[in-house]
Symmetry: C2
Subunit: 112 residues, 2 copies
């Protein structure tokens, strides 16, 4: 699948107010995540995964929390990076947020 | 470098009207590329690299060309994927375009 047009993409509802769509190669996955359930009064519980992650904040504002690092308030145009197995989470500061997440290797569980 | 704030990022001028900034883990790199020299009357010459690539069109419109695939007109919110060693290129249709490229492995030549 070389192209994913937003208007034609399969949208997966992760939970109320959280949707994703994705494209991937063999070892690289890119995921658009749309949140519409912000702002949050506190962050989600931290999680970790073996996959390396990079994220671009396409719209909205968040706080990014990463184990051993100072909390960071990020807005559209900012990026963050999560090393393999590092605990991290976010807190939404605006009602709507769009994040562009990339993962290596691919998140097989997202393909189910 | 877990966070790259747009306002503080090192911006690399690739050529006139093309700038990039990037963040990376060990095997995953994410690059924001800002073009301000569009529209183009024709695509750039096709190129290829061993790195897998995924791209999110953050703003503007382009045509995406990929070896063996039909040309695709893409706009903000669309994505494309380039397998390892596949020839590909783009043509800008608007003056300004922002692409979010991810690569696995990282583009070492971008770190020079």
């Amino acid at each position: 699948m070389p192209v994913l047009k937003s208007s034609e993409a399969t949208v997966t509802k992760v939970k109320e107010g959280v949707e994703r769509k994705l494209i991937h190669a063999e070892n690289l996955m890119m995921v658009v995540i749309d949140f519409t359930n912000g702002p949050w009064s506190e962050p989600e519980p931290p999680h970790s995964h073996v996959h390396e992650q990079t994220t671009y904040v396409a719209s909205g504002e968040i706080i990014f929390f990463c184990e051993g690092e100072p909390d960071q308030r990020l807005k559209a145009g900012d990026m963050f990076c999560v090393p393999s197995n590092k605990k991290h989470t976010i807190q939404l500061l605006t009602k709507e947020v769009r994040l562009i997440d990339s993962f290596n290797p691919i998140r097989q569980e997202f393909l189910v």
